[in-house]
């Protein structure tokens, strides 16, 4: 039998349905890859038995002639930000080590209901705060890609969904869930040569996902093709009455309606994204993208997003502010770590527990958020940032008056070595400069691989669509995918 772990979501699902192989065979193959890849540290816990049980259920259903779900027989990786019943859920933080939720997140439940199985819980930046997967309590994740310059550095897989990106790129899973707050699906996808889409804010329920910044957090799929992303997003999305911000709108058949013919469509090129000092190869990749979309029949127009430069500063006020409040619940009372020094009172216990349980980046952001919300600073920082957010959204609305989708680079650079930006938080934050604006505006956005750079590392192109128009994003992504012909894979070194 050919290597089942080379197959993607749709190929596995269709193969299982056609009887070309069993779901159990698929699960076993991926379980084996996962077990052999501990060097990448992509998983915090593995759950081979979960994958097998789900596979057996699918095989039994098929044998009984029952209808199979859209993810039937597909074992996936689950970012460890999604609560999974009875399986440790940590957000990669010591403060939640050992926490086994008594509930299942809406998105993971939907995936199991659609026939998917779980290979394990994927590593990530602690509480999804980071762009390199170096803030996890459970260690760094290694990017399966290495530069061809002989340096042999272990590279960052991107973050925060770094375990997800590494696992999918290394064929440990055909697909994985990610979450995106300021670029946490798109940036790691770009760093590892895979695709990932963050849908419109509200498409995927946030219920049961450990919160980072509520007004920005969105779940989405990461996979090796646009079509696989479309299939999996269809299984993840949908109205959830348990989430007040969930969109009460039907989920279109994105996979079924995929169409790379862009005739009659306009692609906007935001001039503000041509920032000084942007890597020449990134700009070249962007030019490729423009050419490919023209080739697909689209008209390319210049658009302006004048407040782009303020997106990152606004993000670094809004996200930490929300996080400082969202993370107040980790106090050592009801679950998770408790550090109770001798003779400590309640408030001392809080301070000790949170000092011991949160990593430095999490502390930094909680404190930053606490500061910008504190008396005397709230209006100058938080209110001003929310006003700027309105302006950023307005920019996009104006731009979408002139185009159907926006094309930009996903990241300003390719993957960098682990440790490179660790002592300079600001340099790390700049990684998200192209991804944050769409997050602030709640818009659907995706990254697709475009080419390898001179060092043999993948680069990504980003597509940003109108609210609710994931289809346009996916279609443009498909047009690029078809023309980029990106079929490189990292050489196995782990």
């Amino acid at each position: 039998m050919s290597d089942l772990t080379l197959l993607g979501v749709k190929a596995i699902r269709d193969g299982v349905a056609a009887g070309d192989f069993t779901a159990r065979e698929v699960a076993e193959a991926f379980n084996a890859n996962v077990a052999a890849a501990s060097e990448l540290n992509a998983f915090i816990v593995t759950t081979p038995e979960h994958a097998l049980a789900a596979a057996d259920a699918v095989d039994a259903k098929r044998a009984a002639g029952e209808e199979l779900g859209v993810m039937a027989g597909v074992p996936i990786g689950m970012k460890d930000l999604f609560a999974t019943r009875g399986v440790q859920t940590t957000a990669a933080s010591a403060i939640l080590e050992g926490f086994k939720p008594e509930y299942e997140s809406t998105v993971s439940q939907k995936l199991w209901d659609a026939g998917a199985g779980m290979l394990g819980k994927l590593n990530l930046d602690q509480f999804a705060m980071g762009s390199s997967n170096e803030t996890s309590h459970f260690g760094n994740v290694a990017n399966p890609w290495k530069a061809n310059d002989g340096s042999n550095n272990v590279l960052a897989p991107g973050g925060s969904s770094g375990g997800s990106s590494a696992a999918v790129a290394a064929r440990l899973a055909p697909a994985a869930t990610g979450t995106d707050t300021g670029g946490s699906i798109r940036q790691p996808a770009a760093f590892t040569g895979i695709s990932g889409i963050k849908p419109t804010y509200g498409r995927c329920s946030r219920w049961g996902i450990v919160a980072f910044a509520s007004s920005l957090d969105q779940a989405g799929p990461m996979a090796r093709s646009v079509e696989d992303c479309a299939v999996m997003l269809g299984a993840m999305a949908g109205f959830d009455p348990k989430d007040s911000t969930s969109l009460d709108a039907p989920v279109p058949d994105w996979a079924g309606a995929l169409n790379a013919d862009l005739r009659g469509k306009k692609v906007g090129i935001p001039k503000e994204y041509r920032m000084d000092g942007t890597d020449a190869e990134i700009l070249a990749s962007w030019d490729d993208g423009i050419a490919w979309l023209k080739d697909a029949g689209a008209e390319v127009v210049d658009v302006s997003l004048p407040h782009t430069k303020y997106a990152l500063p606004a993000y670094y006020i809004v996200a930490p502010a929300e996080a400082s409040s969202n993370l107040a619940r980790y106090d050592g009372v009801r679950y998770g770590l408790r550090d109770l020094p001798e003779g400590a009172g309640l408030q001392d216990m809080y301070a000790a527990t949170r000092a011991a349980g949160f990593g430095p980046e999490v502390k930094r952001r909680i404190m930053l958020g606490t500061y910008v919300l504190s008396a005397g600073f709230y209006d100058a920082y938080y209110t001003q940032a929310m006003k700027v957010r309105t302006l950023i959204q307005r920019d996009f609305n104006d731009a979408f008056g002139e185009c159907d989708v926006i094309l930009a680079p996903t990241t300003p650079t390719a993957a960098f070595p682990l440790g490179d930006k660790l002592d300079d938080p600001l340099a790390m934050y700049l990684n998200d400069v192209f991804s944050v604006p769409a997050s602030l505006a709640g818009l659907p956005a995706m990254s697709v691989p475009s080419r390898l750079n001179a060092k043999g590392l993948p680069l990504g192109l980003q597509l940003v669509g109108k609210a609710m128009d994931e289809q346009m994003v996916l279609n443009a992504g498909l047009a690029i995918e078809q023309r980029a012909g990106f079929d490189a894979a990292p050489g196995k070194w782990w």
């Binding site: 999604f82 609560a83 859920t89 957000a91 939640l96 926490f99 939720p101 008594e102 509930y103 997140s105 946030r206 219920w207 049961g208 996902i209 450990v210 919160a211 910044a213 509520s214 007004s215 009455p241 348990k242 989430d243 007040s244 911000t245 502010a321 929300e322 400082s324 409040s325 993370l327 107040a328 619940r329 106090d331 009372v333 009801r334 679950y335 309640l346 408030q347 809080y350 606490t370 919300l373 504190s374 008396a375 709230y378 938080y382």
Partner: protein, 499 residues
């Protein structure tokens, strides 16, 4: 103006009082989760994963809680904000699982309103007074800490966590403990009329944060205030104010300064003390809850809220005195409590129907019966009576017999007593137990004739102008008739016979 003044060593002081009342909204489920608001005996049994602030849990607001707060706002003639928002109030405490309370600071659901406290000469409230209400916002209640169950630990019970509260914030318009007491009683009555809160202060359904400051009479600037938290009875609120006033004046007259602080009331001593756990200055870092969108209410929703409002205390009292012709006193007593007016209005309707008369014609006897006669009998009987026997139909039947002159007031009480004890029907009791007035002129005339014969001297005196003797003849006749004669008939016949 209130005449509440305190003579100090350095001059005369007056008091400024504002109240923040937390009223638990009547609802089945909590404000943001589906857990029950009924407090089971079992700790942490009425707690959802949302209330316990498990990772990834999200709030979804309960329509009924919003509706009740809106109706309450309408009942105090307040501005209803069709656009409002929930904010997070951030602080760390063991009774607050999220690490923040979902509340409303910047855009509350209900804006400016008011209520009127009534003049009460005895309490030092010379005339009706309007107390302005700044706002009502909706927020989550916290859990409960138990400090005396374990030597080194406090126990946390989250059953209350997330129950909906209305925080009703008054303006500092009250100037005496009596006004504060009257304000709470009036507010409680309105909440209970509306049905938005059961008003049960003992069980914590209503708690007041009492803001008090003092200043010299004539000063225009407000003094520094203290806030005494969670005072849970009208009496305690008044005590807390009295104590705070005395304490603040003593501090100021000793040359000290009032510290703006949170205090705790001790019901055992009637005193307040600084709250250690709230000592550090709070910076609540309020910001709009990003898990919740703005709350926008449409006209249909608001219309339904208004249409469902009952007649409120002030309107009801006006109708009782105006349309029903009741005295001010009776109207006030009958409208003070929901149960009281409900019982009265049921009996009034039943009695009017039984008598075939308009309500206004029977309102006064029904009011007297409801406020004094019936409660007197019930009280005297104590445990021997069963209130379930006192159906409106039976009470109306008694009132009907009395109205028709078939029974006397005394007999009405006796019959009601038997009704309470046995559940027998009043008509049957009157008949069987001989509790009926005799209106048979023959028997009465016979008795009168005998009395006149036995008291010829008094008859002569009466006829000679000693009118006062009429009472003597009435008494003698009633005695001869063993109290069962219809007094009206007796009067008429005596007048005829005595000439």
């Amino acid at each position: 103006m209130s005449n509440y003044r305190i003579e100090g060593a350095t001059g005369t002081w007056e008091v400024v009082i504002g109240l923040e009342v937390h009223a638990q909204v009547t609802s089945n489920a909590k404000l943001f989760s589906g857990a029950s608001t009924q407090f089971g005996a079992e700790p942490n049994s009425q707690v959802s994963l949302v209330d316990a602030a498990m990772p990834g849990m999200l709030p979804v607001p309960n329509r009924e809680c919003i509706r009740q707060a809106v109706r309450t706002g309408m009942a105090i003639e307040a501005q209803i904000n069709a656009w409002s928002r929930f904010d997070r109030k951030n602080y760390f405490y063991a009774d607050l699982p999220q690490g923040y309370q979902i509340s409303q600071l910047y855009h509350p659901l209900v804006g400016e309103g008011q209520l009127t406290i009534e003049a009460d000469e005895k309490a030092g409230i010379p005339e009706d007074k309007v107390i302005r209400i700044e706002r009502i916002h909706v927020e989550q209640d916290a859990g409960k800490l138990m400090h005396d169950q374990h030597p080194t630990m406090s126990y946390v019970d989250l059953n209350r966590t997330g129950v909906a509260l209305m925080e009703i914030v008054s303006r500092p318009d009250m100037t005496s403990p009596a006004e504060a007491g009257a304000y709470i009683r009036k507010l409680r009555a309105i909440l209970r009329y509306v049905g938005s809160c059961d008003g049960n202060m003992e069980e914590g359904s209503m708690r007041a944060d009492v803001n008090v400051s003092v200043r010299k009479v004539g000063d225009t600037e407000l003094g520094t205030r203290t806030e005494t938290k969670n005072v849970n009875s009208v009496r305690f609120v008044m005590q807390a104010i009295e104590h705070e006033v005395r304490r603040q004046i003593d501090v100021l007259e000793d040359g000290g300064q009032i510290v703006q602080e949170t205090r705790l009331f001790d019901p055992n001593t009637g005193t307040t003390r600084s709250m250690r756990s709230k000592e550090d200055a709070h910076d609540y870092r309020y910001f709009p809850d990003p898990d919740l969108l703005p709350l926008e209410l449409d006209q249909d929703f608001l219309d339904e809220c208004r249409a469902s409002l009952p007649e409120l205390p002030d309107a009801k009292r006006a109708r009782y005195t105006g349309e029903l012709g009741l005295t001010d006193y009776n109207a006030r007593e009958l409208t003070a409590e929901v149960e009281t007016f409900a019982r009265f209005e049921t009996l009034l309707a039943e009695t009017a129907k039984a008598l075939g008369k308009p309500e206004a014609k029977v309102a006064t006897p029904v009011a007297n019966w409801s406020l004094s006669v019936a409660p007197g009998v019930i009280k005297a009987l104590g445990d021997e009576g069963d209130m379930a026997n006192a159906t409106p139909a039976r009470q109306a039947a008694i009132l009907k017999m009395q109205d028709a002159g078939e029974i006397s007031g005394g007999q009405a009480k006796e019959i009601f007593e038997i009704v309470l004890k046995t559940g027998r029907e009043p008509d049957e009791i009157a008949e069987t137990d001989g509790l009926k007035q005799v209106s048979d002129t023959g028997a009465i005339e016979e008795a009168i004739a005998a009395i006149m014969a036995a008291n010829e001297d008094k008859v002569a005196d009466y006829r000679g102008g000693k009118d006062k003797l009429f009472g003597f003849f009435v008494g003698q006749t009633m005695k001869a008739m063993q109290g069962k004669a219809n007094p009206a008939v007796v009067n008429q016949l005596l007048k005829d016979k005595l000439g």
